[in-house]
Symmetry: C2
Subunit: 235 residues, 2 copies
């Protein structure tokens, strides 16, 4: 049994950190009094303490305590005892490197597959797919592998951005990049726009939020997926 | 002695492939009758043959023959015998993976350091820096290392894009990403806008084109660098 929220972003334009998700999170984490936060992705390079403090403030409004995984001497034990787990956004290369360096990728997968409620945003969502191969982030550190948690049988592209038809910039669009990915990798890629998230309950995977998501499959034209679509057979 | 052109992009908006650079390239490669092209970065996943054909057409206008490195049984020998070398853009992760897989990263560095004229555009420019850690590309394949050719003692960010103040997208700006890079890596990063290139002649490194470039140093505010600035002491 799995209970997972995979969000494109933590923050919407003109809204507070996690604000749009808080009603959903109050229900998602209803049995937890405390959330274990994984601060490894360090957005903008902020410290683990600074990042954990930011998350603590947001979760106070739904009456949850927050502890940072970096505060524990034994992170595997901390994961095993957690009532709920949140991995925040930042740099996916850094996050994946630190999960491997601390030897907890496997333990994290295990406890979440066994039912510990999990929330990921941005980089913390990227790692829910089969690999981090469709992240938008800059490769600022070299991880020992691109393989990630595989809670879903496809890859994600959070913060999905539609091509800007007025742009004169010659860098690749997001769609071009994902099509390149499919020249070398078979798994589908779901482009999650900011404000969208997936809710995973056991074998059910449902698109939530008001926006459509863009689904890319190898050798097929991309299509738009409506909110409330079931994606459990996507692989 | 080194003779290198490191260009942000192959193509400007509303202009043909390499068109804006051709007068410069005619001079840069004046002693070469034939150019060895490294097609490994495969933009949009096109084949080595397709990519080489595109480059062949562009170089015909300045009367140079083009051969693809993939056409040779012994790529190291091909590099050693080349009169001029061009590495085109595409995906930097793929390019670096293929350079290592074919065991030619070292040979390429050696012949260019010994004077074979080199041109890089986009991904082919990224590899001229110390590492590929400031590429904009998607990690579609896993390279054995992020270390690259080190023709210059800093890193590059080709296709440099200024932040869009009207954007409501919450993904990181290029400047934010480069600042994150500097939390973990000491070397300067030069953001090269489309239309800019570096000319390296022995120890001289000069910014060319009409635009300024944006220079990021660890623990310093970013500054704009004017065309014709000497960057030989940048490290």
């Amino acid at each position: 049994m799995k209970k997972i929220i995979i969000a494109s972003t933590s923050t919407l334009h003109n809204s507070g950190y996690l604000e749009y998700l808080l009603p959903t999170l109050a229900k998602h984490f209803e049995k937890a009094t405390s959330i274990l936060f994984i601060p490894y992705a360090r957005p903008g390079g902020i410290t683990h303490d600074e990042y954990t403090e930011k998350v603590r403030k947001a979760f106070t409004t739904i009456h949850k305590k927050v502890t940072g995984l970096h505060e524990f001497e034994n992170p595997i034990e901390a994961l095993q005892q957690a009532e709920g787990i949140f991995t925040g956004g930042g740099n996916t290369f850094l996050l994946v490197s630190e999960l491997y360096r601390n030897n907890i990728m496997e333990s994290l997968a295990k406890v979440v597959n066994n039912g510990t409620p999990y929330l990921g945003t941005s980089a913390g969502s990227n790692i829910c797919g089969l690999t981090m191969g469709t992240t938008n982030d800059m490769p600022i550190v070299y991880p020992p592998s691109f393989r990630t948690l595989g809670f879903i049988s496809f890859n994600l592209n959070p913060h999905y951005l539609d091509p800007d038809p007025s742009s004169e910039h010659m860098g690749e669009t997001r769609e071009t990049r994902i099509n390149e990915f499919h020249k070398f990798n078979p798994q589908p890629v779901l482009g999650l726009r900011e404000g969208s998230w997936l809710e995973v309950n056991n074998d059910s995977i449902v698109l939530k939020g008001h926006l459509t998501a863009r689904l890319f499959k190898q050798n097929e034209a991309a299509i738009e997926i409506a909110p409330e679509t079931e994606l459990n057979n996507l692989k």
